[in-house]
Every structure is written in C-alpha cells, then in structure tokens.
C-alpha cells in the first residue's frame, strides 16, 4: 500500500451523516481517498499473549496504565482507556468449549493393570492422573479489544474543538495539539474506549496507527499478533474473510461463534474494527446493541427548541399574571 494523494473536497451531504451504511471518509469530505481500513479481530484464535498490548504501547509511546493485580483471570489492564489502546480480555467459564474433544478414551485403567504395587490402590483413590473431569465444562475466552473506529462516531460528532477527525482511511483520530480536555467524547462513546489521561488532561485513544498507515505499514498490534487473531486490511476484504471464517466455525460445530460490529446497518453504521466472538458481547464487556448517541440529536434539538419556546411562553404568562399575585 503506497501513500495516497489526498484531496479534500466540499462536505458532500448531510444525508447519511448520522445514520446507516456510508463511506465515512467521503462523508468526512475526502473526494479521493484510499479504501477504508480496519481490523478484524478473530477472538477464536486469540491466545491471550498480550503482544498487541505491548506493541501498541511501545510504538505509540503510551505511559504506564497502572500496575495492579485485579484477580480478573490474566487481565490486569481492565479495559480500554487513555493509556490502554489494546486490551486483552480473559473470561473463564464453566461452559463446554464448543465441539472440542481430545479423542482420548480411558476405557482401560492402566494403573489398575500395573497392579497394586504401591500407595493407594487407584480404585480407592479419590482422583488419579487419568480421572476424567467434567466433560469439557471449562473454557477460557480471550479477546483483544480496541477502538471500533465507528462509521458514525459519537466521539467525533460531539468534539467541540475539531480535535477528533476522520482520516482518509475512514478511521477516527485525536489531534493532541488541538484537544483541550473538555471530556465530552468520553461519555459519548458507546463502547467506553476513549478516556482522559490523568495529569495530561487530554483525551487519548487508538489511532489505528495513523502514522504507520500513512507510510503503507500495518498497525503495530496486527503486526505483532502471533496467531493473526488481529487482522488488518481494507474493510471490505476483512468482512468477506470474516464471513468465510464464521461459516467454517459454524460448520465445525462452534454454534456460539458470531460477528460483532460487522453489520453496516447496526446502531453505529458498522465498526471499522469488528470482531468474531464466541459468546454474547456483554461477556467480553462490549455493549450488546450500541447506538451512536447523535442518532437522536435532531430530535434532541427539536425538544430543546420546544422547551425554549415554553420558557418564553412561561415568562410572558408570568408577567401577565404578575399583577395578580
């Protein structure tokens, strides 16, 4: 991927600015731009190595984000924030691991055959090394979370300084020399991605390695992922790849596998970074049906206008009634 000449034209139209499937870079005013780039994070092959977390920190020079022991399985970074742009979630469940079966049957008790040479006879032992456990009733889910780079990004919509902007790749990036730390983007994000860095005051989040993309390289997390759980590429291609992967998993009996953020008709117009999950989104700390808050903003402004008129009416009535009370 070579650096691309970018032309900034006039803002096309407001239709599609808040809703539905659209090309965000075109919406953002780029008349010519490279294809929309994104991540497909396939959690079914994530091994929880956290290489993505480390690579992200190293490349982006992100400060330490708290050295704590949480007791939340292997997760000590807890969630996305100003200084955690990739976060690996660990979930331990008493659930069968899909259709996994090691194919070993202990029909013969080898210890019994070895005779009662020493120690507790196996049939009297509570447990031996070959005692079968509850059949597959344990699984460990791991998933690397990241900024979703929404088609309709609430953080970008509500930013009053223009610090957050849409890149030519269709991603969403904070300009740190512009951000004044108003904090509006933080509660606007339906995924809890962006946050304020203490002591710095500004809002920070994943840039999808805008600097690397600009020179034709893939983001640091995808580069470092040893299992290709994090896949980077043009969004169209990633969606095709994800659909094929989902079909294969379903075929293999992993009925719980599902894509998250892939649908361009969802509440945020589809995510630029989407996922293959093995359980409900909320299990991973993701909202089940996120909606960009600005979808309701036209209606909000109408209600605000009606309330302002009500206030004027109330004031007029107060002066009309003011003589009597």
């Amino acid at each position: 991927m070579a650096p691309v000449d970018i032309q900034i034209g006039r803002r096309p139209n407001l239709e599609g600015a808040l809703l539905g499937d659209t090309d965000p870079a075109t919406q953002g005013g780029y008349s010519e731009h490279p294809p929309r780039m994104g991540f497909f994070t396939d959690t079914s092959v994530c091994i929880g190595c956290k290489a993505c977390e480390v690579a992200c920190k190293e490349w982006n020079a992100i400060p330490e984000d708290g050295l704590v022991f949480t007791g939340m399985s292997m997760d000590n970074s807890q969630g996305l924030g100003a200084s955690t742009w990739r976060h690996v979630a660990f979930i331990e469940q008493r659930k069968p691991i899909a259709a996994q079966d090691p194919g070993i049957r202990h029909d013969t008790d080898v210890l019994a055959l070895a005779g009662q040479g020493s120690g507790t006879p196996p049939d009297q032992a509570a447990m031996t090394p070959t005692t079968p456990g509850a059949d597959g009733e344990f699984r460990w889910l791991m998933a690397s979370d990241v900024c979703k780079h929404c088609t309709h990004a609430a953080c970008l919509d509500v930013c009053p300084t223009g610090s957050l902007f849409r890149t030519e790749f269709g991603t969403v990036v904070v300009q740190e020399d512009i951000c004044n730390g108003c904090g509006y983007c933080i509660p606007a994000c339906p995924y809890g991605v962006i946050d304020q860095r203490k002591g710095d005051g500004r809002a920070w989040k994943c840039t999808l390695c805008y600097d690397r993309l600009s020179v034709g390289q893939e983001p640091a997390c995808a580069k470092s992922c040893p299992t290709n759980s994090i896949q980077f590429g043009p969004l169209d291609e990633l969606r095709e790849r994800a659909d094929a992967r989902l079909a294969r998993l379903h075929e293999a009996g992993v009925a719980d596998a599902r894509l998250y953020g892939r649908d361009p008709d969802d509440g945020v117009g589809g995510d630029g970074a989407f996922f293959l999950l093995l359980d409900e989104p909320e299990v991973y700390g993701l909202p089940p049906d996120p909606v960009v808050t600005t979808r309701d903003l036209p209606s909000m402004w109408k209600h605000v206008a009606a309330a302002a008129v009500t206030l004027v009416g109330g004031a007029l009535a107060a002066f009309a009634a003011g003589r009597r009370i």
């Binding site: 194919g103 597959g136 994000c189 309701d296």
Partner: protein
C-alpha cells in the same frame, strides 16, 4: 501483510516430529475442537454443540465483564458541571425576567435579575473553563462551529450571551447608556432561553443511560428548573411590590420541572432507577421537597417579605439540588453495567 496458503484441512495436517514441524501451522484458520475424527460424540452420547432443547447454560438475565462498566463515565467534576447546569438555567431564565421587568417598569426586579443573569452566566463560564483538562486551550472551543456537538453550540451561545448579559446588567445597575442597555437586554433575552435549554442536549447527547434515555423530557426539566431558580432569585432579592412576575415564574418553573421529571422517570423505566437511588436519588428527592415547599411558601406568603425571601432561597436550592441529582444519577447509571446492557439486550430481543 503476507499471503497465506489456504489451509482447508486446518489443524489435522500439522504434526510435530523429530525433524521439526511437519505440515502447515493452523494459524488463523485453526478450528476450535476438530483435533480428531471422533469429533461430535461425547461420553454421554450427546453430540457436541447440540442442546437438549434447553440451552446448556440457563439464559442469565444479565452478564457483564467482571461487573465492570461498559462505557467510560464522564470525567467532569460535579462542582464545575452540575454547577454549570444550574447557573446556565438560572442565567437564561433570569434574562427573560430582567427584560420583562424593564418592559413593565419594575426597576428593582430588573436590576436583580440582570445582575443575577450576568453573575450566573459568567460564573458558569468559569466552571466550564476550570473543568477543561487544558484550560489554557479553552479558546479552541471557538475554532469550529458544529451543530452535532451541543458543547460547540453552547460555547458559541455563551460567547454571545455573557457579554450581552454583562452590558445589560451594567446599564441597569449603573443607569448608564439606556439604549445600548436596551439592545443588550433584548439580545440576552433572545439567547437566554437557548442558554437555559441547550444543556439538556449537552448531557443527553452521550451514551450515559439515565441522561440519554431522558432526552425528550430533559429540556423541559431544565427550563423548568431554570425558571424556578430565576423566580426564586427575584423573590429573594426584589421587594414584594415588584416580585409578582418572579413569583408566577417560580410557580410555572417548579411545576414544569416536577411534571416533566415525573413523566421522564415513568417513561424510561429501569434507567430511571438512579434518579431515586443513592446519591443522585437523595439530591433529586431534596430538590422535589424544596421545590414543593418553595412553591407553597411563594403562594401563601405573598404578602410577607421574609416568607417570600425564604421561598426564593428554597427554590434556588431546589434547582441546584435537582441538577446535582441529575448529574450524580447519570454517573451512577454509567458506572453500573446493567443500565447499559439490559436495555440494549431487551431492545435487540424485541427486534428479533
């Protein structure tokens, strides 16, 4: 990115031998659980992945990731931002009261309202700037104008409103430049209602469940609360002979606020819980009690200066308590994942 061969046989084709790894590493194409040909039959005779009619795990009402919040809660401080909501409402409504007082010849109410409007407006601006992570960059708010950002709209409103309210107040208090004062009064009365109401969109245009879900009623709660506060200020500081409109404004404001709040709580269902629980709930309850007391005192004590002043103070306190309550309820709803997950879960079930 490197191109990879399509590995249709996946994991079964790779093998670790004394000579190293044979076959292809499964990599991104690894499948969960097809290690052997015996796939699909378990010890208990059930097929893997198959369910006996009922799901393996009973559908939990609500699951979350270690009880962690889904969204990041606002980093705003309650003094700055709840204070800002209160002062903005007071200022906007007081500008209307001041303009009306000038038009109907009530000079004391005129002075009090305009001075209050400017003081509250200026102080709210201080709160807004103080709350910024980088206060030195507050002028970056005026780099752009974005209708999709209520904070951008509000910054421009305040940038226009506060100077006008200042000129109107100065002219009224010092009795100078009546024409300019009149124009500034008209201007601030025009922008005032927007200043009092836009803050509802400011907090509703977030993913905070208690704030977002209440967006249709929130502007009415806010203008009602603002009108009650401005009326309260008039009752507190203007003489009985001139405070009639302030009294009427207070009654109008408090009743609008109470009715709209009640409607909001009933409509939004479970996300309204924080408005009646915890710290937020305590503030909201205090606001309601003070509001009812204030209105009762305003109506019953209209010939008594002291009772009127007390009612005014109660109404001001009620407005502030309501704003603090809404602020903290929003924080509570952001902190508890159930307010994010359960309504979304119900919604997506409804669509299916």
């Amino acid at each position: 990115m490197s191109e990879r061969t399509d590995v249709s046989t996946a994991s079964s084709s790779s093998d670790v031998t004394t000579n190293g790894l044979r076959g292809v590493r499964p990599d991104r194409d690894a499948l969960t659980g097809v290690a052997t040909g015996k796939r699909g039959r378990r010890r208990d005779g059930k097929r893997n992945g198959q369910r006996d009619g009922a799901p393996t795990v009973p559908a939990a009402e609500f699951t979350s990731y270690y009880g962690m919040p889904v969204i990041n809660k606002p980093v705003w401080s309650s003094l700055d931002i709840a204070g800002y909501l209160f002062l903005g409402g007071l200022a906007g409504a007081a500008s209307l009261l001041g303009a009306g007082a000038q038009a109907t010849g009530r000079p004391a109410l005129d002075r009090v309202s305009k001075a209050g409007a400017f003081g509250a407006g200026a102080l709210s601006l201080v709160g807004l700037v103080h709350d910024l992570g980088k206060p030195s960059r507050f002028l970056h708010m005026l780099r752009v104008f974005k209708v999709t950002s209520p904070m951008s709209v509000g910054s421009w409103l305040l940038a226009g409103y506060v100077p006008l309210a200042g000129i109107a107040a100065a002219s009224s208090v010092f009795g100078k430049a009546p024409r300019i004062g009149m124009a500034a009064t008209a201007g601030s009365a025009l922008i005032g209602p927007a200043v009092a109401s836009y803050t509802a969109a400011l907090i509703s245009d977030t993913a905070v469940p208690a704030w977002h879900d209440g967006y249709p009623e929130m502007p009415f709660v806010f203008v009602g609360s603002g009108a009650a506060a401005a009326g309260g200020l008039g009752l507190l500081a203007a003489p009985l002979t001139q405070s009639g409109p302030a009294r009427a404004m207070a009654v109008f404001g408090a009743s609008t606020e109470l009715v709209s709040f009640e409607r909001m709580e009933r409509r939004i269902g479970m996300t309204a819980e924080p408005y009646s629980q915890g710290r937020g709930g305590a503030y909201v309850r205090a606001g309601k009690v003070l509001s009812v007391l204030g209105v009762a005192a305003a109506l019953l004590g209209r010939r008594n200066r002291v009772v009127s002043a007390l009612s005014g103070a109660a109404l001001l306190a009620s407005s502030a308590a309501t704003r603090w309550g809404i602020f903290h309820a929003g924080m509570q709803s952001a902190n508890d994942p159930k307010y994010t997950i359960i309504p979304q879960r119900d919604r997506s079930k409804g669509e299916r």
